[in-house]
């Protein structure tokens, strides 16, 4: 940076709206503000829109976006002793279980001078100005699938995250020193945890994952002490629970899955936390769980103070394809048929887009946004797509689109209120799906099938009108592109995402035209933006490496 730039930068310093300063850290109430200068929670704010009000970077000047710094993090097994050891080491494991390196898949919190970055068992606090390490915490695990971590939560001066082996760990956000850890699910029952916890006032909302036919649940913990406040099961756990009539038996329901592994959104007006649930289990063999299998693959609103369900809408009745509907839903204050409405929209893994009234749960619309999704026979009167039995795994093979990863997945979509468009990746792969376990009892977990990838109908970045569910523009990636990058949109009229061919790309949000790109490798999380020293930054992870771009 030249001297001239330094002078300019100094005059532009603005007081950050959210700071982890001398005053007790991040006040949870500040998360209620729309996404702007900082990034204090998973989606930036509670709406799930990933829409930033920052306007320094625009369609006119994005071509001048410049790399400010880059930082590679070693997300594999660290040395536990010596000068390279992490600042603090915790955990209930012996250190025998060796973790491999993993791509950074989470949201990175940005508050004040620090970025908080996670990977399975790792948390780093990095200097927001150059990515330099402030502290590094490592958790010695007991095992579990180290497939990803979606980020941490900040409550006052506590940084709280989930470990693969099902602990909630609270750290001093300033130093990285551990305050407490508490077990949130049974490791013996093969739960594993990846979700970014969500702070709402004095509640910490926590989800987990599981592949072995175990019930899903959302829990609320006291962020100060780690004490359990409530636990909401997503499947019936007793004979008089709602939804029991959608299962053949209580035993099937209690092993029915519906895991909560991606953060939801929060509506302060109703005090509802709105989230999606995962697939029913056994995943590919529905024979022993005939029925709709509530509340798996369902959008659910719970009251944050009580954990009571206010409404639900099932986006995939009786799923048999491992198509979780866990993706973060997006809250939209919109207009339908000339009437202002409080809405929630979601583009599900199964290839269908939904808009729902988020106060009442009333269904507004369902459309197919996955161009080749072929598994539903029709849309029910309720708005739920109806599964075609012939498109399950069958012995001679059925040709199913999308593939197991879905048209979209956990990678966050975005919504821009200026364009009224909902932006999502659209992946249209095909599998031949064979049933290999014909046992009338069904299989277990995700067993009992062979799935063979046989080609793609083409992938795209799609901009969907929330009012009609129709695709307004669609940028088709050249063959081989698309896939797993999240999306960011801004008041500067931009959409940022990855192209699946190694490029990080900025699009015109209204027209879908690519305006800027840089080849930094495939994007592994969703891009984010914030203001530091009066300058707008765009932060993104590609594998183990962070890239911070800035507009000087």
């Amino acid at each position: 940076m030249t001297a001239t730039h330094l002078v300019v930068a100094a005059t532009l310093i603005a007081a950050p709206a959210v700071s982890l300063a001398q005053d007790g850290g991040l006040d949870p109430a500040s998360i209620l503000a729309p996404l702007g200068e900082s990034w204090p929670t998973y989606s930036g704010d509670y709406s799930g829109r990933r829409y930033s009000e920052l306007t320094q970077v625009t369609t006119d000047n994005v071509a001048h976006l410049t790399l400010a710094w880059t930082r590679e993090l070693d997300t594999g097994m660290p040395s536990l002793e010596g000068s390279n050891a992490p600042t603090f080491i915790g955990g209930e494991g012996t250190g025998e279980f060796t973790i491999g390196s993993q791509r950074i898949k989470g949201s990175i919190l940005q508050v004040g001078d620090l970025l908080y970055v996670t990977a399975p068992d790792h948390v780093w606090a990095l200097d927001v100005r150059d990515g330099g390490e402030r502290w590094h915490y490592f958790w010695k695990t007991r095992g579990g699938p180290h497939i990803g971590n979606r980020g941490a939560a900040l409550w006052h001066d506590s940084l709280i995250f989930e470990t693969v082996d099902n602990y909630l760990v609270s750290l001093d956000a300033r130093t990285g020193d551990e305050r407490w850890h508490t077990e949130i699910a049974s490791f013996d029952e093969q739960y594993f945890s990846t979700m970014a916890p969500i702070v709402v006032g004095d509640h910490l909302l926590v989800g987990t994952g599981n592949d072995l036919d175990a019930p899903g649940f959302l829990q609320s913990f006291d962020p100060e002490t780690g004490a359990l406040q409530w636990k909401f099961y997503t499947v019936p756990m007793s004979a008089d629970d709602p939804g029991i009539d959608t299962w053949p038996s209580l035993d099937a329901a209690r092993h029915g899955g519906g895991q909560v592994w991606v953060p939801g959104s929060y509506d302060p007006e109703t005090n509802y936390y709105i989230f999606g649930t995962g697939n029913p289990t056994p995943g590919y063999t529905g024979v022993a769980r005939r029925g709709d299998n509530l509340f798996t693959c369902t959008l659910i609103a719970v009251d944050v103070d009580t954990g009571e369900m206010a409404w639900y809408f099932q986006t995939s009745p009786h799923d048999t394809h491992d198509w979780d509907s866990a993706q973060t839903p997006i809250l939209i204050d919109g207009v339908i048929d000339g009437v202002p409405r409080k809405l929630v929209s979601t583009a599900a893994r199964n290839g269908y887009f939904f808009t729902i009234d988020r106060v009442t749960g009333e269904h507004i619309l369902t459309t197919r946004y996955g161009a080749t999704s072929n598994w539903a026979s029709h849309i029910r009167e309720s708005g739920s797509p109806n599964p075609h039995p012939g498109k399950e795994a069958i012995v001679p093979g059925s040709l199913v689109s999308p593939v197991e990863g879905g048209v979209a997945n956990w990678q966050p979509a975005a919504f821009n209120p200026d364009t009224g468009l909902f932006y999502t990746q659209e992946n249209n792969g095909f599998n031949l799906l064979y049933l290999t376990d014909v046992d009338p009892r069904g299989s277990m977990g995700l067993g009992g099938k062979d799935r063979i990838a046989v080609g793609s109908g083409g992938n795209a970045l799609s901009a969907i009108d929330y009012r009609t569910g129709e695709t307004t523009w669609r940028h088709v990636w050249p063959p081989g592109g698309g896939g797993g990058a999240g999306v960011l949109t801004t008041a500067g009229g931009l959409v940022f995402t990855g192209d699946g061919s190694g490029n990080f790309v900025a699009f015109d949000a209204a027209r879908g035209e690519p305006l800027w790109h840089t080849r930094i490798g495939n994007i592994s999380n969703a891009p984010q933006t914030y203001l530091v020293d009066g300058r707008q930054y765009v932060l993104v992870a590609a594998g183990q490496q962070l890239f911070a771009f800035v507009m000087y």
Partner: protein, 292 residues
């Protein structure tokens, strides 16, 4: 270990009764061991990480299980004809430590939320411990992502299609590019496993011996210059190709400039994917199998 004659007899009887399913099972063998290089500490979950139990005790447990548990819980522990639950996904079993949770259920029985319970079993403490050891051993053989232990290979026949109908479909849809006496001659013999044959032709690589044919690309610059070759890489911002003389060329792309035209023999197959019915697929496979 001290044993009474009675127990030995019981064990032998149990082995006989249970033998139909379990005689071939090696208690300590597991597919996960092979994958993880025998190092159980690198397995994902406690039920898989535990060190192997005493083979003799496991065999005894298996025998007792065959007599006292199998009718309800199934020979493979995944639930039986008499309605007993699947033990391999049971919370009690998964959380059990040396019989502390399973033992009382065997001894005292258990009422179930569904109404049907489990009656107490009059087994000796040693037999209860052996049954627990046996269950733990089976748990240790579970597959990835919650899948059950591999079990015996079951041969499944995927050939359900009508070869004549497949031939008709082939003539109408495939014959403009492919021939049963040309590129697909003997395909049913060359790819003798029907499922592999089906995967390969639907993917579009049957005629090419599993290989994808190269994609040809023509790049026309604003000046009118045309460059042709084999496509190496393509995204919205770059196209890279190899000319027929081996020369590598790369071009920056900006919208439609330069003009990039692909000739991808696989494109037709991709375009067919949304059009096939499963019946079409099964029929064509049945037909291709006949090309011996």
């Amino acid at each position: 270990m001290r044993r009474s004659l009675c127990q030995v007899t019981l064990t032998l009887l149990g082995l006989f009764l249970a033998g139909t399913t379990y005689e071939a099972r090696q208690p300590q063998a597991s597919s996960q061991d092979a994958a993880a290089g025998q190092d159980r500490s690198q397995r994902l979950y406690p039920s898989l990480q535990r060190p192997p139990g005493d083979p003799e005790r496991i065999a005894r447990g298996q025998a007792v299980y065959g007599i006292s548990c199998r009718a309800c819980h199934g020979a493979d522990l995944r639930g039986g004809d008499l309605g007993g639950p699947n033990l391999l996904r049971s919370q009690v079993v998964l959380k059990d430590d040396q019989g502390d949770l399973v033992g009382p259920v065997i001894r005292d029985g258990q009422s179930s939320a569904d109404g049907d319970g489990m009656p107490p079993q009059s087994l000796s403490e040693e037999d209860i411990g052996a049954v627990v050891e046996f269950i733990r051993d089976v748990l240790g053989t579970a597959s990835r992502q919650g899948g059950p232990p591999p079990g015996d290979e079951v041969a499944l026949d995927i050939l359900v299609g009508d070869a004549t109908a497949g031939q008709t479909y082939f003539a109408a849809t495939c014959a403009s590019c492919h021939s049963p006496t040309g590129d697909l001659q003997d395909i049913g013999a060359r790819i003798s496993e029907p499922q592999e044959l089906q995967n390969t032709w639907v993917r579009g690589t049957a005629a090419g011996g599993g290989e994808r044919p190269p994609v040809r690309v023509t790049v026309t610059e604003a000046s009118g210059e045309r460059v042709e070759g084999e496509l190496e890489r393509l995204n919205d911002f770059l196209v890279v190709l190899t000319e027929d003389d081996g020369r590598h060329r790369s071009f920056r792309r900006r919208g439609d400039t330069p003009l990039v035209e692909l000739d991808d023999p696989m494109a037709v197959h991709r375009e067919l994917l949304p059009l096939y019915s499963d019946t079409d697929i099964h029929n064509v496979t049945a037909y291709l199998v006949t090309l011996q």
